[in-house]
């Protein structure tokens, strides 16, 4: 655990403790389980967003992707009556394909990630609304979806399944990012793609890989989110979720310049965001202030992080200079 993550964890405990003192209901099992569920839902796609941010990119399209993939998922299950494993596989595959498309547009045509995924945000939302004629899609009397409903929104050992999904995704992605060659390349390309290319690394493939993983995780998140709300209204489903994901990643230590961040940090960032949301409710703060509280805390976090980073850099510089001078 790095100092950055430790700081974030301490902040979590302080804010959590504070809230618990003001309103003990914060620690009630109902509230904790509810939060765990939301952390699971948001954490899965925040990790995908984080991977993309580490390459120096960004994905603004995830919220709209949820709407588009969400209506397709309901359609596949209700109208086409596909068996659920197949439907889920199609959705994750479709998410991966969209991610691949974004990656290719960014690396082959050298388009800016912001622009590519902003267009995605507009296009996917538009198609979702057109496809459903803007009407909400629900499961109604759909056939055999009990298993997937339980899997995506039920509980195991008393813990919400989305949270368990997040634990698995975080563990796998943690190994991928922090232990594999691909992960090493991801950081190198995010920090300095020129030097990475000069070391024989196929930087385009690495970047595309991050978008691909991000898309796949967005597909998985779609399934969880659809069964959480159990209906999809194409004009509002997933609105702003890309911003929650970016906020979680940035809070968790990812720099939008690329090359920085960790899976643990992103998960902690997601947890902090959900605690803040919950705190607004539970402390009776007017819910209209919700966004303002979130924005304020992110701003403070980023400022603190930057000041600490500068001090650390300075100390290291002095150490090497002192050593060089001693020669």
């Amino acid at each position: 655990m790095s100092k950055k993550e430790l700081g974030l964890a301490v902040l979590l405990i302080v804010i959590g403790g504070f809230t618990a003192i003001l309103n003990p209901l914060f620690l009630s099992s109902v509230n904790l389980l509810n939060m765990a569920n939301l952390i699971g839902l948001f954490g899965v796609f925040s990790i995908g967003q984080g991977l993309i941010i580490i390459t120096g990119g960004i994905d603004l399209s995830v919220g709209s992707m949820f709407a588009l993939l969400g209506v397709i998922l309901v359609d596949l299950l209700v109208n086409y009556e596909l068996p659920w494993p197949l439907a889920v596989l199609i959705i994750i595959g479709a998410g991966t394909t969209l991610g691949l498309l974004h990656g290719l547009l960014v690396t082959r045509l050298r388009l800016q990630p912001f622009v590519v995924t902003l267009c995605g945000l507009l296009i996917y939302r538009g198609i979702a609304r057109y496809y459903t004629a803007d009407s909400t899609m629900g499961f109604g009397y759909a056939g055999d979806i009990d298993t997937i409903t339980w899997l995506a929104s039920g509980r195991s050992f008393g813990i919400p399944n989305p949270f368990l999904f997040l634990v698995v995704v975080a563990a796998v992605m943690g190994v991928v990012l922090h232990r594999t060659v691909f992960g090493r390349y991801l950081y190198a390309v995010g920090r300095n793609d020129e030097a990475a290319r000069h070391s024989g690394i196929n930087a385009d493939a690495v970047i595309t890989g991050a978008y691909l993983l991000g898309g796949g995780l967005a597909g998985l998140a779609t399934v969880l989110l659809v069964f959480y709300t159990s209906s999809v209204s194409p004009s509002s489903f997933g609105n702003f979720y890309e911003l929650y994901a970016i906020a979680a990643a940035v809070l968790g230590g990812c720099s939008l310049r690329g090359g920085e961040g960790s899976i643990l940090g992103i998960v902690l960032g997601t947890v902090l965001l959900q605690i803040l949301q919950n705190l607004v409710n539970i402390l009776g703060i007017p819910s209209s202030l919700n966004f303002a509280v979130m924005g304020g805390v992110i701003l403070l976090g980023v400022i603190a992080d930057q000041q600490l980073g500068r001090r650390k850099q300075k100390a290291q510089l002095q150490r090497s200079q002192a050593l060089a001078a001693a020669e």
Binding site: R184, A195, S199, I201
Partner: protein, 508 residues
């Protein structure tokens, strides 16, 4: 007569580091003062103090008899100081005139304070003419070459009608003819009564234009030379505090067969020109030429960054298709790039991750990095190359230029080099570390590695190479064997005057 600029007992202490200690110097009207010293000697700190960027910890600054306790950037400019920086500080989204007159734009329209573009161009045109610039005031800076941008920097100092001009490595990216023009200009300015401080690693220019030389070492003034004392050996002795031993070390054995052979190679930079090149194992092949002669494009092509338009590349006789750096690295052809901060290193990463960047899969088991093995490899390189850092966990951006270059080398030495292409391997590196880099190159050659050394530093090309080839406008204009090495021969080929027939005979 009162000196134009007088520094007395200037000291600067950063936490834990004494950057400058009791530096006193003066500059008179119509004088060129050469300032030399290795990297880290304190030259840039001194310049920052003069420019008003950082305040001195102690000491006095007098300009034209006036004492300035706190020299800010604006005060320095008002006092008549101007800088020509090594790193270009230009706005490349503006045109030439706007850059030259930045902060002093002619206005019209009274209270509206509109920019008067025509007056600006009128004012800039004679300055450009004086510099012999081949571009007009309304050219966007983005369209200029690095050398042309350097001229814009100089024009800026002229436009400010500065009394004191400080030139910090002004020729590092200029061609020979542009350098000659700059030196003429320096002499003109001196005749007009301007005081100049000339900082450079290129000692020949100091010999050419300086009236006096002062040398900094470890933050102290270690000596001064009068006009008649200025010569290479004396300056090097001052800079490093000892005699520099002869550069050239002969190879342990004659060059072997095979190596890298390029035939009919056409690079993207010069689509009409084909060239042949042979780098033999065990030799250091020096490559000289003017800036823009196509040397860097050739290196980039051989390394697969800009794939060739035509031609064949053979390694030890076997044909090789190099379409990307990945192919080159797999074949054992490595590039130590000119711009090490941008292309050689990931500055924010620790030494260990930089060393294993190109060979990460070798330290992985089933896709998972084996950190202990990686660390061991990096520590081996750190010890072998004598990289001055507390440990392999030190981040690359805290190292000096020479140590950064060693990390780049460590990356390639930890693998299996067959051919290493060095592009300006010692640019911006101090004299002591230069010697180490040359020693490493020789050791590699003696292990049978074929080495190409692209360099604009004549002393280096003549002093380190076993053989020299010279490029001119995208082709090889000739080659020289060690016996035929001379500055004149290299220059003649560099400006395209060598007879190709004789040059080829020399190369064979």
């Amino acid at each position: 007569m009162q000196p134009l600029l007088e520094l007395t007992g200037i000291g600067k202490t950063y936490p834990g580091v004494r950057a400058l200690d009791g530096v006193s110097l003066h500059l008179d009207r119509g004088e060129v003062l050469g300032l030399i010293g290795e990297n880290g000697a304190g030259k840039s700190t001194l310049m920052k103090i003069l420019g008003g960027v950082v305040p001195p910890s102690e000491g006095r600054i007098r300009i034209g008899g006036m004492e300035y306790p706190h020299l800010g950037v604006a005060t320095a400019t008002r006092a008549g100081l101007a800088f020509v920086h090594q790193e270009l500080n230009l706005f490349d989204n503006l045109d030439v005139a706007a850059n030259i007159l930045f902060g002093r734009e002619p206005l019209r329209g009274g209270p509206l304070r509109l920019l008067d573009r025509r007056a600006a161009h009128e004012r800039v045109r004679p300055i450009l003419a004086r510099l012999g610039a081949d571009f007009s005031p309304d050219t966007p800076v983005a369209e200029l070459s690095i050398a042309q941008r350097q001229l814009v920097e100089i024009a800026r100092a002229l436009a400010a009608e500065a009394r004191i001009i400080i030139l910090d490595e002004p020729t590092s990216s200029l061609t020979l003819s542009e350098t000659a023009r700059l030196l003429t200009l320096v002499k003109e300015l001196r005749a007009a009564g301007v005081g100049l401080i000339y900082i450079t690693h290129r000692l020949g220019e100091i010999v050419d234009c300086a009236d006096r030389v002062v040398c900094l070492r470890d933050g102290r003034l270690v000596g001064a030379l009068r006009r008649e004392e200025i010569e290479h050996a004396a300056m090097i002795r001052l800079m490093i505090g000892r005699e520099l031993r002869a550069l050239y070390t002969p190879p342990a054995q004659p060059p072997g067969e095979g190596g890298l052979e390029a035939a009919g190679l056409v690079t993207g930079a010069f689509p009409g020109r084909a060239l042949d090149l042979h780098i033999r194992p065990g030799e250091i092949l020096g490559m000289a030429g003017l800036v823009g002669a196509g040397r860097t494009s050739l290196a980039r092509t051989l390394f697969g960054i800009d794939p060739p338009l035509a031609g064949t590349i053979r390694l030890d006789g076997r044909p090789l298709a190099i379409r990307s750096p990945k192919d080159a690295v797999a074949a054992g052809i490595y590039l130590v790039p000119e711009d090490r901060k941008r292309a050689g290193l990931v500055l924010e990463m620790p030494i260990v991750e930089n060393v294993t960047l190109a060979s990460a899969p070798n330290y992985a088991r089933m896709g998972l990095m084996h950190r202990a093995a990686e660390w061991k490899a990096s520590e081996t390189q750190r010890a072998g190359l004598r990289i001055k850092a507390p440990s392999s966990a030190t981040r690359a951006n805290t190292l000096s230029g020479g140590n950064q270059q060693k990390v780049v080398l460590g990356k390639w030495l930890s693998m299996a080099p067959r051919v290493i292409l060095f592009d300006e391997p010692t640019r911006g590196i101090d004299v002591g570390a230069k010697g180490e880099i040359y020693g490493l190159m020789r050791a590699l050659a003696d292990r049978g590695v074929a080495i190409l050394m692209i360099s604009s530093d004549m002393e280096e090309v003549l002093g380190v190479s076993d053989r020299i080839v010279v490029m001119h406008e995208g082709r090889i204009s000739g080659g020289l064997e060690r016996a035929g090495f001379s500055e004149q021969a290299v220059l003649r080929l560099a400006i395209g005057h060598g007879e190709p027939a004789r040059a080829e005979a020399a190369q064979a």
